[in-house]
């Protein structure tokens, strides 16, 4: 009888082992001889604090004033202090270095707009993206209506660039997500959409007025 219980115990242990393989895995598991597994050099996101303790200067940012190849020139206006709008107003004078986009560049600017801006300002630039959804989404404030609102259609490129770079009111800074060149290209895309939105509506309005005149 004792032996039967031993056999049953062995089976139970086997089943327990097999069934433990699934389920929630909070630990990464074991490594056998992690030869060449860990980098000897400092990798992205590695903790650099040990270097600091040793008195070695390490800063993973490029040297101040570095301009990457193919990148636009730096935007010289700094962020306004709270309560000040001097640079925000001054930014109106800055011209957009991106003056024209070919079909491929436009497609890329549109893609960047949809990834980064469309989530709030809407794929149709109507200020009604998935995060707002007429006030039903999680974002409590109405994003700017880029096409169809006179205020934003009249806003100069430079001021838009200021807002995208440093953020304005509830909009955050997009400097970490888009390079200067990309920001200017996206603004060019928005401006071209705004003028495209105006162009067909003007003849339509004219047609309307002529129709009413005929009546």
């Amino acid at each position: 009888m004792k032996k039967i219980s031993i056999i049953i115990a062995v089976f139970a242990a086997g089943i327990a082992l097999v069934s433990c393989g699934d389920g929630l895995k909070r630990k990464p598991g074991t490594v056998y001889m992690p030869d060449m597994g860990d980098s000897r050099a400092y990798e992205t996101y590695a903790d650099h604090s040990i270097l600091e303790k040793k008195g070695i200067f390490y800063n993973n940012k490029p040297v101040a004033g570095t301009i990457a190849r193919g990148e636009e020139m730096p935007f010289l206006l700094t962020k306004d202090l709270p309560g000040d709008t001097a640079n925000y107003v001054a930014s109106k004078q800055v011209a957009n270095p991106v003056t024209s986009l070919n079909a491929k560049e436009t497609a890329e600017a549109e893609r960047l707009y949809l990834v980064n801006c469309g989530i709030c300002h809407g794929a149709k630039l109507d200020g009604n993206g998935p995060l707002y959804k007429d006030g039903k989404g999680p974002f409590p404030a109405k994003p700017a209506t880029l096409v169809g609102d006179a205020k934003y259609e009249a806003m100069p490129d430079g001021q838009m660039f200021y807002s995208v770079t440093y953020g304005k009111n509830l909009m955050g800074s997009y400097a970490s997500q888009l390079s200067r060149k990309q920001r200017w290209a996206v603004i060019h895309y928005i401006k071209s959409k705004q003028s495209a939105g105006k162009a067909p509506s003007a003849p339509a309005a004219a047609a309307d007025s002529s129709a009413t005149a005929k009546k």
């Binding site: 039967i4 062995v10 895995k25 598991g29 980098s39 996101y45 709270p82 999680p138 109405k142 509830l170």
Partner: protein, 428 residues
């Protein structure tokens, strides 16, 4: 009779008047809503402080209606006039200037104020209740069931074998064939041999599985410093993967988003109101409390402008780790290879807590490189592979001429054919 008639007429007139008035009122609030969303909603909400103050009860705070109207039209003039409440408010909001609305009429302002009143009353009447939708899915695992079934069948087989041997013994006794003393089953050599073989097989499978699993962490699902639900962000709210993981298009790392990217939205979104979320253990998670954790890292106090220099990095736990002797580049796969994130990371928009979907073993990499066809169309990256372009054109023209379908080998070029399985492509 005449008296009655005129009374009925008055009654009907009264009804009509009441209905018209009612309609007018609701129309006022309706207009107010449209006007509010057009002019005010980008900085104000009814029950929540955004760039500007919450507007519920605004009429109680401004006792003089004329000054309130003046403030809405041109707040700068009111501040200059030195009206103390206005000056205080301006200073309290860090001298953020409100837009001027010189063209707005008294009627429109009244409509907006009427809308604010009704919206505030509605919000008071319905205290925010959580949606009862229970998103927990009870997907059963069949392994245990099969295990129990196997065990039951094994016991039945064992009992039948015992019965069989007993019956044989009985019939032998009856026929008078001398039978030897029965051996108990645990001393029966064939049983012991069977058990040994079964244990050997199970042990072998377990050891092989364990050895293969060494250094791999498929299904690894660590607890993160903040319960960040990809389901809520990428699934429900449809945020593109590249919004946060910007680097996946440009380089080796997909990049963990900085606190700044979180705060792009969470400066305004400070509470979680979506469907209930659960952690891996099945416990409910309080989304609003998790957003508060983010504020602690960011050094942000709701209602005050955020000073990004006070932010501390969030130390997320890395899930996908490749050993140092393998080179993997995200942009190579996302941009040149035109692969979807989900191919390797699984259905992230459905995961509350992310776990490692793929084994990330070499066999897994190679398998994909052998079967995936290179997307030559509209892809500058492979435009120099003219030989393959010509071959593809020739094959498809040939197939067309013969009126046949392209065979599987000729319908495309796999990654392997352009050198995707050469050792030094990934190990160098």
């Amino acid at each position: 009779m005449i008296h009655l008639k005129s009374f009925a007429g008055k009654l009907i007139f009264g009804f009509v008047l009441a209905i018209v008035l009612q309609l007018g009122n609701s129309a006022l609030a309706q207009d107010g809503k449209a006007l509010f969303s057009q002019n005010c909603a980008s900085c104000h909400a009814v029950n929540k402080q955004l760039t500007g103050p919450a507007l519920a009860g605004v009429e109680d705070r401004w006792p003089d209606k004329a000054i309130l109207h003046h403030w809405i039209r041109n707040n700068q003039e009111v501040i200059k006039s030195g009206y103390p409440y206005a000056v205080n408010l301006y200073n309290q909001f860090n001298k953020t200037q409100m837009n001027l609305f010189p063209a707005i009429t008294d009627k429109e302002i009244d409509a907006i104020l009427a809308y604010i009143k009704t919206a505030a009353a509605e919000a008071n009447a319905t205290p925010a209740g959580g949606t009862p939708a229970d998103a927990k899915n009870a997907e059963g695992d069949n392994t245990l069931l099969f295990g129990i079934l196997t065990l039951v069948l094994a016991i039945i087989a064992f009992v039948l074998l015992q019965v069989n041997s007993n019956l044989k013994k009985l019939s032998d006794d009856k026929d008078g064939i001398p039978s030897h003393e029965p051996v108990p089953f645990w001393r029966n050599k064939s049983y012991i041999a069977l058990l040994a073989v079964v244990l050997f097989l199970i042990g072998g499978i377990l050891i092989t599985k364990g050895a293969i699993g060494l250094g791999r962490s498929q299904n690894y699902e660590p607890e993160q410093p903040i319960f960040y639900s990809h389901k809520v962000h990428a699934g429900v709210n449809q945020i593109n993967c590249l919004y946060c993981h910007t680097g996946a298009q440009y380089g080796k790392q997909a990049t963990i988003p900085s606190v700044n990217i979180c705060m792009n939205c969470h400066m305004a979104i400070n509470e979680y109101k979506g469907p209930k979320i659960y952690n891996g253990e099945g416990e409910e998670v309080n989304g609003t409390a998790e957003i508060q954790k983010l504020y602690k890292y960011a050094g942000f106090e709701p209602g005050k402008p955020w000073d990004a220099s006070k932010a501390k990095p969030i130390e997320w736990t890395r899930i996908h780790n490749l050993p140092d002797h393998v080179y993997f580049n995200h942009s190579q796969h996302v941009v040149a290879g035109k692969q979807q994130c989900q191919t390797c990371h699984g259905d992230i928009p459905k995961m509350d807590e992310v776990k490692q979907f793929a084994p990330l073993s070499m066999g897994w990499c190679i398998n994909c490189h052998r079967t995936t066809q290179v997307q030559f169309k509209e892809n500058d990256f492979y435009s120099i592979y003219t030989k393959f372009h010509d071959q593809l054109k020739r094959d498809s023209a040939e197939a067309k001429a013969n009126g046949r379908q392209l065979s599987k080998e000729k319908s495309g070029i796999t990654v392997e054919q352009i050198g995707g399985t050469e050792c030094q492509k990934c190990h160098y």
